[in-house]
Amino acid sequence: MTIPMTPETGVPVAVSPESTAGAPGSAAFRRFAQAVLRNRKATAGLVILAAMTVVAVFPQLFTNIDPQAAIYDQQAGPSAQHLLGTTQVGEDVFAQLIWGTRLTLLITVIVSLAATVISVLIGVTAAYVGGMADRSLSLLTDVFLVLPTLPLLIVLTAYLPSGSLTITAVMIATSWAFAARQLRAQGLSLRTRDFLEAAKVRGERRSYIIIVEILPNMISLLVASFLGLAVFVVGFAAGLQFLGLGNSTELTWGTMLYYSQQNGALESGNALWMLAPGAAVAILGTGFALLNYAFDEIGNPALRPVRRRRGKPA
């Protein structure tokens, strides 16, 4: 996981007043799209995520084997028919990998989106409303920031029924704090801008100001928060399932890891059964991380790679 701690990353993209204009500037969007495409890291990240999405939506294009049909030789090594070998009950590992993409990706996206929404609600409200509300919300954020996530998740999942729903809910509840803190900082810096004063003078409602005036100016930070969360969630969800805290009848990369670990896949010459889903998790995480890294560079020109031979500090 990357925790961007530079003060600059709190404000990734320069706040451009035109993005608040009535019609969301398509020029601004085009400039943004160009910046993404021109950045090699961003392109690589996008390609990875696009490929994973295609696999998640159309798994049948990549394999015609039923991932849960236990009809083949058990614990067989890789062969032409079973590219990654078979499981302890004789299922095809490759088919599981392909079909497992869907739920893995779904959990990641849902958790990251929901946690971003919560962090907006808490962070932006704290910044904009201020006073007592800010102090108590900031305190709540600080407390959640310090509570150790994985131990808390383990304790919570121990009491709740095991399954993807539990993992999803618990991860949402425990992962919003870091983004909320960043959004609050950004919100505070926006608070005194003229266009917000103007909206206040016009007599707009608070909810209107937050949704229409503040949030559009935070889009880039929201995207960065979402990506940062996704990097973290991919690994953590898989980690929880690897520990056996997920629902072991659901097909995800994490549960594949769980079964291969339980059956000693590494030691018994069936290493691909374990390494393939592990690699898939790593690649998905890297995809999100590359995009996130690129966003930092796009937003903070000082970090862009220097093409000169010897970097003299700017």
Binding site: V146, A289, A302
Partner: protein
């Protein structure tokens, strides 16, 4: 002084919040710990149930507030009850604590030192050879899940090459003693779990340190140091790195939460019998007292580190004290 007081306040408050969450979770869920333990035994005897409830501190007739205060008192004095195997939780924890403490402590220090150093150097020689290889490489590794790195290292060095042991903290059957042979046995078992944690965490230290350095190197006081004709290493360390390291210190605590979480997965993968492995076995045995006590131990560890990091940055940076 006000700064110190405020940080202490947050420390106490977070600890209290963690204790309360820990108290509430089991009570908000259907059933209690005693019923949970008994449901795994056959033939529930009401008297036995009551005895267990008393033991777990679950008094169904008692006022919740009184129970809560008793619970707080028990936690502060380290009385966490018995594990599913009828051993005091505290004994079990103290037994495993040194292994995790050594593993996590040493690897964190190594990762921090290596990561910060590489970060400083790669920002100093920006676009140079070091800068174009190590930071991107370790960055990619650091985004990988901890357990995947652990599995790959395990597969390469233990299963395929057979250089290092597969699991555990020392050879089965050898008795702990203060001999060189035993020490090397312990070290050889700790190399792979330790390496995993270092490799996974060094990347983000490099990343933040490098980015902070890049920003700091553009400051006027660095320019002035150059104008004064100070030697390069002095500018790099005393002027730039000293200022750039501050956000890394604050990030230290947050990073530690990640390392501790990661150590659970690492200990599980390598069957390394520390707190993380204990946590895992507690989960599979539904050992609720053990789990809630361990959750508190992890929280306390992080809180202490946050506090130390806060004080360290106050010591290094007078600006934090004034604000």
């Amino acid at each position: 002084m006000r700064y110190v007081a405020r940080r202490m306040g947050l420390f106490v408050l977070t600890l209290w919040a963690a204790l309360t969450v820990n108290f509430l979770i089991p009570r908000l869920m259907p059933g209690d710990e005693a019923t949970a333990v008994l449901s795994r035994m056959k033939g529930v005897n009401p008297a036995a149930l009551h005895a267990l409830q008393v033991e777990f501190g679950i008094n169904t007739d008692q006022n919740v507030l009184v129970t809560y205060l008793q619970y707080l008192g028990n936690c502060l004095t380290g009385q966490f009850g018995l594990t599913a195997a009828r051993v005091p939780v505290m004994t079990e924890i103290l037994d495993k604590l040194p292994w995790t403490l050594a593993l996590v402590g040493i690897t964190t220090v190594i990762a921090f030192a290596i990561g910060t150093m590489i970060g400083v150097l790669s920002a100093w020689r920006r676009g140079g050879r070091l800068d174009s290889i190590l930071p991107p490489l370790l960055f990619i590794v650091s985004t990988m899940p901890v357990f995947f790195v652990a599995l790959v290292l395990l597969y390469v060095f233990a299963v395929t090459l057979g250089w290092l042991p597969l699991a555990s903290n020392y050879e089965l059957g050898s008795t702990p003693s203060l001999t060189l042979g035993f020490a090397s046995d312990v070290v050889s078992h700790a190399i792979l779990p330790g390496l995993t944690l270092v490799v996974v965490t060094a990347g983000s230290w490099i990343y933040t340190m490098r980015n902070n350095m890049v920003t700091t190197l553009a400051e006027d006081y660095v320019r002035m140091a150059r104008a004064k004709g100070l030697p390069g290493w002095q500018i790099m360390l005393d002027y730039a790195a000293r200022n750039a390291i501050l956000p890394n210190l604050t990030g230290f605590a947050m990073q530690l939460g990640y390392v501790l979480g990661g150590s659970i997965l690492v200990e599980y993968t390598f069957s390394y019998p520390g707190l993380g492995y204990l946590f895992y076995t507690g989960t599979t045995n539904h050992d609720l007292p053990l789990q809630s006590a361990l959750f508190l131990v992890y929280t306390l560890a992080i809180l202490i580190c946050v506090l130390v990091a806060d004080f360290a940055s106050a010591l290094l940076d007078p600006r934090t004290r004034d604000s």
